[in-house]
Subunit: 96 residues, 4 copies
Amino acid sequence: MPPKRGYQLSKDDYLRRLRRIEGQVRGLQQMIEDDRYCIDVLTQISSVSAALQGVSVGLLDEHLRHCVVEAAAGGEADTEQKLIEASEAVSRLLRS
Amino acid sequence: MPPKRGYQLSKDDYLRRLRRIEGQVRGLQQMIEDDRYCIDVLTQISSVSAALQGVSVGLLDEHLRHCVVEAAAGGEADTEQKLIEASEAVSRLLRS
Amino acid sequence: MPPKRGYQLSKDDYLRRLRRIEGQVRGLQQMIEDDRYCIDVLTQISSVSAALQGVSVGLLDEHLRHCVVEAAAGGEADTEQKLIEASEAVSRLLRS
Amino acid sequence: MPPKRGYQLSKDDYLRRLRRIEGQVRGLQQMIEDDRYCIDVLTQISSVSAALQGVSVGLLDEHLRHCVVEAAAGGEADTEQKLIEASEAVSRLLRS
Protein backbone atom coordinates (compact mmCIF):
# COMPACT_ATOMS: atom_id res chain seq x y z
CA MET A 1 0.00 0.00 0.00
CA PRO A 2 1.47 3.37 -0.95
CA PRO A 3 1.87 5.93 1.83
CA LYS A 4 -0.83 8.60 2.15
CA ARG A 5 0.24 11.90 0.73
CA GLY A 6 -0.94 15.42 1.37
CA TYR A 7 -4.49 15.74 2.60
CA GLN A 8 -5.78 12.34 1.51
CA LEU A 9 -7.95 10.74 4.18
CA SER A 10 -9.51 7.30 4.10
CA LYS A 11 -13.13 6.60 5.03
CA ASP A 12 -11.84 5.32 8.38
CA ASP A 13 -9.84 8.53 8.93
CA TYR A 14 -12.99 10.62 8.36
CA LEU A 15 -15.06 8.48 10.69
CA ARG A 16 -12.41 8.51 13.41
CA ARG A 17 -12.11 12.30 13.20
CA LEU A 18 -15.86 12.83 13.18
CA ARG A 19 -16.37 10.57 16.18
CA ARG A 20 -13.70 12.57 18.00
CA ILE A 21 -15.50 15.79 17.05
CA GLU A 22 -18.80 14.32 18.28
CA GLY A 23 -17.10 13.59 21.62
CA GLN A 24 -15.78 17.15 21.77
CA VAL A 25 -19.28 18.53 21.16
CA ARG A 26 -20.61 16.37 24.00
CA GLY A 27 -17.74 17.74 26.10
CA LEU A 28 -18.94 21.26 25.27
CA GLN A 29 -22.40 20.39 26.59
CA GLN A 30 -20.85 19.16 29.82
CA MET A 31 -18.85 22.39 30.11
CA ILE A 32 -22.08 24.40 29.79
CA GLU A 33 -23.85 22.14 32.33
CA ASP A 34 -20.95 22.70 34.73
CA ASP A 35 -21.04 26.49 34.20
CA ARG A 36 -17.44 26.46 33.06
CA TYR A 37 -15.75 29.78 32.33
CA CYS A 38 -16.90 31.21 28.93
CA ILE A 39 -13.37 31.65 27.68
CA ASP A 40 -12.53 27.98 28.31
CA VAL A 41 -15.63 26.95 26.37
CA LEU A 42 -14.62 29.30 23.53
CA THR A 43 -11.14 27.77 23.40
CA GLN A 44 -12.69 24.32 23.08
CA ILE A 45 -15.02 25.56 20.30
CA SER A 46 -12.00 26.89 18.38
CA SER A 47 -10.50 23.44 18.61
CA VAL A 48 -13.69 21.77 17.29
CA SER A 49 -13.85 24.28 14.41
CA ALA A 50 -10.24 23.58 13.47
CA ALA A 51 -10.94 19.82 13.53
CA LEU A 52 -13.95 20.31 11.24
CA GLN A 53 -11.78 22.33 8.86
CA GLY A 54 -9.31 19.47 8.70
CA VAL A 55 -12.16 17.18 7.58
CA SER A 56 -13.27 19.80 5.02
CA VAL A 57 -9.85 20.11 3.46
CA GLY A 58 -9.67 16.31 3.18
CA LEU A 59 -13.06 16.17 1.46
CA LEU A 60 -12.17 18.97 -0.91
CA ASP A 61 -8.93 17.22 -1.80
CA GLU A 62 -10.93 14.07 -2.52
CA HIS A 63 -13.37 15.97 -4.71
CA LEU A 64 -10.53 17.56 -6.67
CA ARG A 65 -8.92 14.17 -7.24
CA HIS A 66 -12.20 12.94 -8.73
CA CYS A 67 -12.23 16.01 -11.04
CA VAL A 68 -8.75 15.30 -12.18
CA VAL A 69 -9.34 11.60 -12.80
CA GLU A 70 -12.42 12.50 -14.81
CA ALA A 71 -10.54 15.14 -16.76
CA ALA A 72 -7.80 12.64 -17.55
CA ALA A 73 -10.52 10.27 -18.79
CA GLY A 74 -11.87 12.98 -21.10
CA GLY A 75 -15.11 13.83 -19.26
CA GLU A 76 -15.02 17.55 -19.93
CA ALA A 77 -18.58 18.55 -19.08
CA ASP A 78 -18.57 16.74 -15.73
CA THR A 79 -15.19 18.23 -14.89
CA GLU A 80 -16.47 21.77 -15.46
CA GLN A 81 -19.43 21.05 -13.19
CA LYS A 82 -17.16 19.62 -10.47
CA LEU A 83 -14.81 22.63 -10.65
CA ILE A 84 -17.70 25.03 -10.15
CA GLU A 85 -18.90 22.95 -7.19
CA ALA A 86 -15.39 23.01 -5.70
CA SER A 87 -15.19 26.82 -5.88
CA GLU A 88 -18.68 27.18 -4.43
CA ALA A 89 -17.75 24.83 -1.58
CA VAL A 90 -14.58 26.81 -0.79
CA SER A 91 -16.63 30.00 -0.85
CA ARG A 92 -19.11 28.56 1.63
CA LEU A 93 -16.33 27.27 3.90
CA LEU A 94 -14.63 30.67 3.95
CA ARG A 95 -17.93 32.28 4.92
CA SER A 96 -18.81 29.82 7.69
CA MET B 1 -39.30 38.35 32.34
CA PRO B 2 -37.72 40.80 29.89
CA PRO B 3 -37.29 39.70 26.28
CA LYS B 4 -33.85 38.43 25.25
CA ARG B 5 -31.86 41.03 23.43
CA GLY B 6 -29.04 40.76 20.96
CA TYR B 7 -26.91 37.66 21.32
CA GLN B 8 -27.87 36.68 24.86
CA LEU B 9 -28.40 32.95 25.16
CA SER B 10 -29.58 31.04 28.22
CA LYS B 11 -27.95 27.83 29.45
CA ASP B 12 -30.86 25.95 27.86
CA ASP B 13 -30.30 27.72 24.55
CA TYR B 14 -26.65 26.66 24.55
CA LEU B 15 -27.50 23.06 25.42
CA ARG B 16 -30.22 22.86 22.78
CA ARG B 17 -27.89 24.23 20.11
CA LEU B 18 -25.02 21.95 21.11
CA ARG B 19 -27.26 18.87 21.10
CA ARG B 20 -28.40 19.86 17.62
CA ILE B 21 -24.75 20.24 16.55
CA GLU B 22 -23.96 16.82 18.04
CA GLY B 23 -26.79 15.36 15.94
CA GLN B 24 -25.40 17.07 12.84
CA VAL B 25 -21.94 15.60 13.51
CA ARG B 26 -23.50 12.14 13.80
CA GLY B 27 -25.29 12.89 10.52
CA LEU B 28 -21.89 13.64 8.96
CA GLN B 29 -20.62 10.22 10.05
CA GLN B 30 -23.65 8.61 8.41
CA MET B 31 -22.99 10.58 5.21
CA ILE B 32 -19.41 9.24 5.14
CA GLU B 33 -20.63 5.67 5.86
CA ASP B 34 -23.08 5.99 2.97
CA ASP B 35 -20.36 7.35 0.62
CA ARG B 36 -22.36 10.49 0.02
CA TYR B 37 -21.06 13.01 -2.50
CA CYS B 38 -18.12 15.05 -1.06
CA ILE B 39 -19.75 18.36 -1.89
CA ASP B 40 -22.92 17.47 0.03
CA VAL B 41 -20.82 16.54 3.05
CA LEU B 42 -18.93 19.87 2.73
CA THR B 43 -22.20 21.79 2.63
CA GLN B 44 -23.28 20.09 5.84
CA ILE B 45 -19.91 20.89 7.48
CA SER B 46 -20.37 24.58 6.59
CA SER B 47 -23.71 24.45 8.37
CA VAL B 48 -22.18 22.87 11.51
CA SER B 49 -19.39 25.49 11.52
CA ALA B 50 -21.92 28.30 11.27
CA ALA B 51 -23.91 26.80 14.15
CA LEU B 52 -20.75 26.60 16.29
CA GLN B 53 -20.03 30.25 15.49
CA GLY B 54 -23.48 31.18 16.73
CA VAL B 55 -22.65 29.52 20.05
CA SER B 56 -19.27 31.32 20.14
CA VAL B 57 -20.78 34.73 19.62
CA GLY B 58 -23.27 34.02 22.42
CA LEU B 59 -20.48 33.00 24.80
CA LEU B 60 -18.40 36.03 23.91
CA ASP B 61 -21.38 38.29 24.53
CA GLU B 62 -21.82 36.65 27.92
CA HIS B 63 -18.16 37.14 28.76
CA LEU B 64 -18.32 40.81 27.80
CA ARG B 65 -21.39 41.33 29.95
CA HIS B 66 -19.48 39.94 32.92
CA CYS B 67 -16.61 42.39 32.16
CA VAL B 68 -18.99 45.28 32.07
CA VAL B 69 -20.78 44.32 35.29
CA GLU B 70 -17.42 43.99 36.98
CA ALA B 71 -16.23 47.32 35.61
CA ALA B 72 -19.41 49.01 36.87
CA ALA B 73 -18.69 47.47 40.29
CA GLY B 74 -15.19 48.95 40.25
CA GLY B 75 -13.13 45.79 39.72
CA GLU B 76 -10.52 47.32 37.45
CA ALA B 77 -7.79 44.66 37.52
CA ASP B 78 -10.20 41.81 36.77
CA THR B 79 -11.77 43.80 33.97
CA GLU B 80 -8.41 44.34 32.29
CA GLN B 81 -7.73 40.59 32.49
CA LYS B 82 -11.15 39.76 31.03
CA LEU B 83 -10.70 42.22 28.15
CA ILE B 84 -7.39 40.64 27.20
CA GLU B 85 -9.02 37.19 27.32
CA ALA B 86 -11.86 38.43 25.11
CA SER B 87 -9.45 39.72 22.44
CA GLU B 88 -7.44 36.51 22.57
CA ALA B 89 -10.62 34.46 22.18
CA VAL B 90 -11.73 36.50 19.15
CA SER B 91 -8.25 36.07 17.66
CA ARG B 92 -8.44 32.30 18.09
CA LEU B 93 -11.97 32.15 16.63
CA LEU B 94 -10.91 34.15 13.58
CA ARG B 95 -8.02 31.75 13.02
CA SER B 96 -10.06 28.57 13.45
CA MET C 1 -15.84 34.48 -27.00
CA PRO C 2 -17.71 32.16 -24.63
CA PRO C 3 -19.35 33.70 -21.55
CA LYS C 4 -17.46 33.46 -18.25
CA ARG C 5 -18.72 30.71 -16.04
CA GLY C 6 -18.48 30.07 -12.35
CA TYR C 7 -15.61 31.78 -10.60
CA GLN C 8 -13.41 32.42 -13.63
CA LEU C 9 -11.84 35.85 -13.50
CA SER C 10 -9.68 37.46 -16.17
CA LYS C 11 -6.43 39.29 -15.41
CA ASP C 12 -8.36 42.56 -15.80
CA ASP C 13 -11.01 41.38 -13.32
CA TYR C 14 -8.32 40.64 -10.74
CA LEU C 15 -6.62 43.99 -11.27
CA ARG C 16 -9.89 45.89 -11.08
CA ARG C 17 -10.86 44.13 -7.85
CA LEU C 18 -7.43 44.62 -6.28
CA ARG C 19 -7.40 48.33 -7.16
CA ARG C 20 -10.81 48.64 -5.53
CA ILE C 21 -9.47 46.84 -2.44
CA GLU C 22 -6.47 49.17 -2.39
CA GLY C 23 -8.87 52.12 -2.41
CA GLN C 24 -10.85 50.57 0.45
CA VAL C 25 -7.65 50.16 2.50
CA ARG C 26 -6.82 53.83 1.90
CA GLY C 27 -10.38 54.62 3.00
CA LEU C 28 -9.70 52.69 6.22
CA GLN C 29 -6.65 54.89 6.89
CA GLN C 30 -8.82 57.97 6.42
CA MET C 31 -11.40 56.55 8.83
CA ILE C 32 -8.67 56.09 11.47
CA GLU C 33 -7.31 59.62 10.80
CA ASP C 34 -10.83 61.00 11.27
CA ASP C 35 -11.34 59.02 14.51
CA ARG C 36 -14.36 57.30 13.06
CA TYR C 37 -16.39 54.99 15.29
CA CYS C 38 -14.59 51.60 15.78
CA ILE C 39 -17.62 49.62 14.72
CA ASP C 40 -17.89 51.48 11.41
CA VAL C 41 -14.21 50.76 10.73
CA LEU C 42 -14.80 47.08 11.58
CA THR C 43 -17.72 46.90 9.15
CA GLN C 44 -15.50 48.29 6.41
CA ILE C 45 -12.76 45.76 7.26
CA SER C 46 -15.29 42.91 6.93
CA SER C 47 -16.09 44.22 3.47
CA VAL C 48 -12.40 44.32 2.46
CA SER C 49 -11.90 40.76 3.79
CA ALA C 50 -14.87 39.50 1.79
CA ALA C 51 -13.51 41.19 -1.35
CA LEU C 52 -10.12 39.52 -0.82
CA GLN C 53 -11.86 36.17 -0.43
CA GLY C 54 -13.58 36.70 -3.78
CA VAL C 55 -10.14 37.16 -5.36
CA SER C 56 -8.86 34.03 -3.56
CA VAL C 57 -11.67 31.84 -4.80
CA GLY C 58 -11.02 33.08 -8.35
CA LEU C 59 -7.31 32.25 -8.08
CA LEU C 60 -8.01 28.84 -6.62
CA ASP C 61 -10.45 28.11 -9.44
CA GLU C 62 -7.74 29.11 -11.91
CA HIS C 63 -5.20 26.87 -10.22
CA LEU C 64 -7.60 23.91 -10.30
CA ARG C 65 -8.30 24.45 -13.99
CA HIS C 66 -4.55 24.25 -14.65
CA CYS C 67 -4.43 20.95 -12.68
CA VAL C 68 -7.25 19.55 -14.71
CA VAL C 69 -5.79 20.59 -18.05
CA GLU C 70 -2.50 19.03 -17.03
CA ALA C 71 -4.19 15.85 -15.86
CA ALA C 72 -6.05 15.59 -19.17
CA ALA C 73 -2.68 15.98 -20.92
CA GLY C 74 -1.28 13.10 -18.88
CA GLY C 75 1.07 15.02 -16.57
CA GLU C 76 0.46 12.92 -13.48
CA ALA C 77 3.35 13.98 -11.25
CA ASP C 78 2.72 17.70 -11.74
CA THR C 79 -0.98 17.19 -11.09
CA GLU C 80 -0.30 15.50 -7.76
CA GLN C 81 1.95 18.41 -6.78
CA LYS C 82 -0.69 20.98 -7.78
CA LEU C 83 -3.42 19.15 -5.85
CA ILE C 84 -1.33 19.21 -2.69
CA GLU C 85 -0.66 22.92 -3.21
CA ALA C 86 -4.38 23.55 -3.67
CA SER C 87 -5.26 21.83 -0.38
CA GLU C 88 -2.50 23.68 1.44
CA ALA C 89 -3.74 26.98 0.02
CA VAL C 90 -7.32 26.28 1.15
CA SER C 91 -6.00 25.35 4.59
CA ARG C 92 -4.11 28.64 4.85
CA LEU C 93 -7.12 30.64 3.64
CA LEU C 94 -9.40 28.99 6.20
CA ARG C 95 -6.91 29.85 8.94
CA SER C 96 -6.41 33.50 7.92
CA MET D 1 3.86 56.17 29.91
CA PRO D 2 2.67 52.66 30.83
CA PRO D 3 3.55 49.80 28.47
CA LYS D 4 0.91 48.72 25.97
CA ARG D 5 -0.88 45.62 27.07
CA GLY D 6 -2.77 42.97 25.16
CA TYR D 7 -4.27 44.13 21.89
CA GLN D 8 -4.21 47.88 22.49
CA LEU D 9 -3.07 49.75 19.41
CA SER D 10 -2.48 53.49 19.07
CA LYS D 11 -3.75 55.55 16.14
CA ASP D 12 -0.20 55.45 14.77
CA ASP D 13 -0.09 51.65 15.07
CA TYR D 14 -3.31 51.38 13.06
CA LEU D 15 -2.07 53.75 10.37
CA ARG D 16 1.29 52.00 10.10
CA ARG D 17 -0.38 48.61 9.75
CA LEU D 18 -2.92 49.85 7.22
CA ARG D 19 -0.22 51.51 5.12
CA ARG D 20 1.67 48.23 5.14
CA ILE D 21 -1.52 46.41 4.07
CA GLU D 22 -2.03 48.96 1.28
CA GLY D 23 1.51 48.20 0.08
CA GLN D 24 0.78 44.47 0.18
CA VAL D 25 -2.37 44.98 -1.93
CA ARG D 26 -0.31 46.94 -4.47
CA GLY D 27 2.16 44.05 -4.40
CA LEU D 28 -0.71 41.68 -5.23
CA GLN D 29 -1.55 43.79 -8.30
CA GLN D 30 2.07 43.53 -9.42
CA MET D 31 1.99 39.76 -8.92
CA ILE D 32 -1.09 39.55 -11.18
CA GLU D 33 0.53 41.86 -13.77
CA ASP D 34 3.60 39.61 -13.75
CA ASP D 35 1.48 36.44 -14.12
CA ARG D 36 2.91 35.02 -10.93
CA TYR D 37 1.93 31.51 -9.90
CA CYS D 38 -1.63 31.41 -8.44
CA ILE D 39 -0.52 29.66 -5.28
CA ASP D 40 2.07 32.35 -4.52
CA VAL D 41 -0.60 35.02 -4.94
CA LEU D 42 -2.92 33.03 -2.62
CA THR D 43 -0.19 32.81 0.03
CA GLN D 44 0.23 36.58 -0.11
CA ILE D 45 -3.56 37.08 0.18
CA SER D 46 -3.61 34.90 3.31
CA SER D 47 -0.97 37.18 4.77
CA VAL D 48 -3.00 40.34 3.96
CA SER D 49 -6.12 38.75 5.51
CA ALA D 50 -4.22 37.90 8.67
CA ALA D 51 -2.90 41.47 8.88
CA LEU D 52 -6.43 42.85 8.51
CA GLN D 53 -7.58 40.53 11.30
CA GLY D 54 -4.89 41.95 13.55
CA VAL D 55 -6.31 45.43 12.94
CA SER D 56 -9.85 44.14 13.60
CA VAL D 57 -8.94 42.59 16.92
CA GLY D 58 -7.29 45.87 17.95
CA LEU D 59 -10.40 47.86 17.03
CA LEU D 60 -12.67 45.46 18.83
CA ASP D 61 -10.50 45.68 21.94
CA GLU D 62 -10.76 49.47 21.74
CA HIS D 63 -14.52 49.32 21.39
CA LEU D 64 -14.81 47.00 24.40
CA ARG D 65 -12.66 49.32 26.49
CA HIS D 66 -15.05 52.17 25.69
CA CYS D 67 -18.00 49.95 26.79
CA VAL D 68 -16.30 49.19 30.04
CA VAL D 69 -15.37 52.80 30.78
CA GLU D 70 -18.96 53.79 30.08
CA ALA D 71 -20.31 50.99 32.26
CA ALA D 72 -18.03 52.08 35.10
CA ALA D 73 -19.42 55.60 34.67
CA GLY D 74 -22.97 54.28 34.98
CA GLY D 75 -24.13 54.68 31.35
CA GLU D 76 -26.20 51.52 31.19
CA ALA D 77 -28.25 52.13 28.05
CA ASP D 78 -25.22 53.07 25.96
CA THR D 79 -23.31 50.07 27.27
CA GLU D 80 -26.07 47.70 26.20
CA GLN D 81 -26.03 49.25 22.73
CA LYS D 82 -22.25 48.93 22.48
CA LEU D 83 -22.31 45.29 23.59
CA ILE D 84 -24.82 44.42 20.89
CA GLU D 85 -22.68 46.23 18.32
CA ALA D 86 -19.61 44.29 19.50
CA SER D 87 -21.34 40.92 19.07
CA GLU D 88 -22.65 41.93 15.66
CA ALA D 89 -19.15 43.02 14.60
CA VAL D 90 -17.62 39.70 15.72
CA SER D 91 -20.37 37.86 13.83
CA ARG D 92 -19.58 39.81 10.66
CA LEU D 93 -15.83 39.23 11.05
CA LEU D 94 -16.33 35.49 11.50
CA ARG D 95 -18.41 35.41 8.33
CA SER D 96 -16.01 37.47 6.19
